[in-house]
Symmetry: C2
Subunit: 423 residues, 2 copies
């Protein structure tokens, strides 16, 4: 079989599995998930040996230490993977939920019922635990999964997927419920994205080039997990101590994630006081500040280091590092305008004591999550109480923000009549 | 400006309008809608004169009489257009609705709030009233609209859009809330579909070639309004008189619409009785039946006309006419399998007295709407009680089935804290 035939074959098989999976009880799905967790643990040695092959390749290619860290599995990480699966098993199953029910004027009983999406394609890079996380959330919601991981983690992914597939099948899941594309050929991404007959949704998780390739080729819905250029605005009426805590947390608690902030806007009325409080805290973490003219002079007078002048490009950059763009502005309206122009509509926050200003910001900023007096780091399925997430959608439709189990379902209308015809 | 610059300019302007529109009160939007209705009526003569130009072109191109009928405006149709706008003004505004609200473990108050999508692109063919219907539903939900109608109705569309734009602006809507692309150049469709920076959703309404062109090029979500290959299954335990009424209604009440049935499956145990009852009713309407072997012999024995032998292609065809594909099957499972294989997952129905069989069908058929003992013709925003619809989505995500006002919105999370940071 050539690559295209192989992908088509995977699609056909996944479609068949999805039909059966949609009819399986929550108890059966949960039993299969627990079996998957056991199998992952039982195969720890095999999975680590496979991971060692990926790591050897990574080292020989001189991948960065951050990349190698993300790629690395070890016994605690395998254990965590299994534990993650067990937790998903304990979550409520959204499938079958009656979202709304009413009787139409013609006497029809209409029920809007939650159902699986069908076949979900996941295209991802680097971290092998995504193989398990994604497959397990899809299984829980009765979706068949076609996984396509990055070449750098291919051996780890294959070992994990094999454990999931075999444990699932033994526990009574349909064959082909979880499929991993074994080829690392880059054309596989395009072939998957064109296969709208067999894939109902594609979720790309990875860098810009990957997401762009999927968006360009896709014929089915895509839910992107893209940039987080998150912004905090410190208002003239902010509690400055609270503002410092929020900014330090949102920038430095874990700078490499999408819900960390990249830019701080501060009202000119409080900029000197705020920066005087912030500087020592940032200095501890060696945060590089890229400041506009006004902020630069305040920080330079404080002898803050490392300090650079911001360029316009900095407002548009997701640093994912101990780097912050800083701008002094004149009003809440300017903050809202900056967020609209430069942010990525992921998570943005205002710190203020003024309720009217806060409510204006919350209303006018069109982002997946908007915060008043809290760190943007809370944009997370776990923190929201969703129990688990497949990621943070930066798209507007179907799933926006944290994408949990509910967002892996759709609905259908079930209509019960007594012989009604339309006149 | 070349076409690309023109489309980009429309996009930029619509994005600006969307930002303002999202903040406008329901009262303001409703006042603007009523002004639009008045303006449409006031300009009846202008609109009819523009329509006459389109009709002259259509006649010179020898378009079919059905096409010409769909294209034709007259005073009652203009009146109906205005009346439709007034009705939308009376509907509840979904924007601002709190869909769900809870307090997270960290004490954050999280509200999931309904908001406009942003900029909606509508690409359609033939019927000029879509210009008004689509623009008005988008305005009601705070979305800016970029319309691209077919070349055959360009003069009518321009006249209607101008009335809507000017009345809206006079009533305080932002400029550029409703934009119609004046060019009939086919490349405009591709250029719109590639412009994901400025268009958040595209809804194509039209033939297969149009929808295919949009799907192929689109970088943003597309909600297709595609085929309705709807199927009715008459079970062994059906009330046959009810089955006849449902089949006659679903096939012949309005055969040219997407929720009319194209195929009837009948259980072999009742096929002769059912067809004996159906034949005289179908004969009245001159319905051409394309029957499988078993059904053919029953109908031939009854001397039914017009009668042909079905080919496999007939199971996959949306006739949109007084033509029905008919198949005798052995079981409810075979019915479910046929619907899964040949249907378009739009609207399908079972007629039976057996509740267990009905519930199996309702559960296992994965279509936007599944009916027990009712005509598929009820798949309609009005019949569902949505008040109005932009169409019937044949896609699975975001909107499935009738797409009303709610489906023209998305949500964001508004989060209110007291200084929470993540640990």
């Amino acid at each position: 079989m050539d690559l295209n035939e192989q992908i088509q074959d995977f699609g056909r098989r996944a479609r068949g599995a999805a039909r059966l999976l949609s009819q399986i009880s929550s108890a059966q799905k949960n039993a299969a998930l627990l079996a998957m967790a056991d199998e992952i643990l039982a195969r720890t040695a095999t999975i680590l040996a496979a991971n060692e092959k990926d790591l050897a390749t990574a080292r020989s290619r001189n991948l960065s230490s951050a990349m190698i860290d993300r790629l690395t599995l070890n016994p605690p990480r395998v254990e965590a993977m299994a534990q993650g699966i067990r937790e998903v098993a304990t979550l409520p199953d959204p499938v079958g939920e009656v979202i709304r029910e009413w009787t139409s004027l013609s006497g029809l009983r209409i029920s809007k019922v939650r159902v699986p999406i069908g076949v979900v394609g996941i295209i991802y890079e680097s971290r092998p635990n995504v193989t398990s996380d994604a497959a397990v959330l899809c299984t829980k919601t009765g979706n068949a999964t076609i996984l396509r991981g990055g070449s750098e983690s291919i051996h780890s992914n294959l070992a994990i997927a094999e454990a999931l597939e075999q444990a699932g099948a033994k526990a009574g899941l349909p064959n082909d419920s979880v499929l991993l594309i074994p080829s690392t050929d880059r054309r596989a991404v395009r072939l998957m994205a064109e296969m709208d007959r067999y894939i109902d949704l594609i979720v790309p998780r990875g860098g810009k080039a990957l997401i762009e390739a999927v968006v360009r080729a896709a014929r089915m819905p895509v839910i992107k997990h893209s940039d987080g250029i998150c912004i905090a605005y410190v208002d003239a009426e902010a509690d400055l101590d609270m503002a410092v805590e929020i900014v330090v947390n949102a920038k430095t608690q874990r700078p490499g994630v999408c819900n960390a902030i990249e830019t701080v806007l501060v009202h000119r009325a409080v900029a000197p006081d705020f920066l005087r409080k912030l500087a020592p805290r940032f200095a501890q973490k060696k945060v590089e500040v890229r400041a506009d003219e006004k902020a630069f002079s305040v920080l330079a007078a404080l002898d803050y280091q490392p300090l650079r002048r911001a360029t316009e490009e900095d407002w548009r950059t997701e640093f994912l590092d101990y780097i912050l763009a800083l701008r002094v502005i004149d009003s809440p309206n300017d903050a809202i305008a900056h967020v609209g122009q430069f942010g990525s509509h992921h998570s943005d926050c205002i710190v203020t004591r003024n309720e009217a200003t806060a409510e204006q910001f919350l209303r006018e900023v069109d982002s997946a999550t908007v915060y008043w007096n809290a760190s943007t780091r809370f944009t997370d399925g776990g923190e929201f109480g969703f129990g688990a997430e497949i990621g943070i959608s930066t798209d507007k439709l179907h799933a926006r923000g944290p994408m949990g189990l509910e967002e892996l379902t759709t609905y259908k209308y079930v209509i019960r009549g007594q012989g009604q015809v339309r006149t």
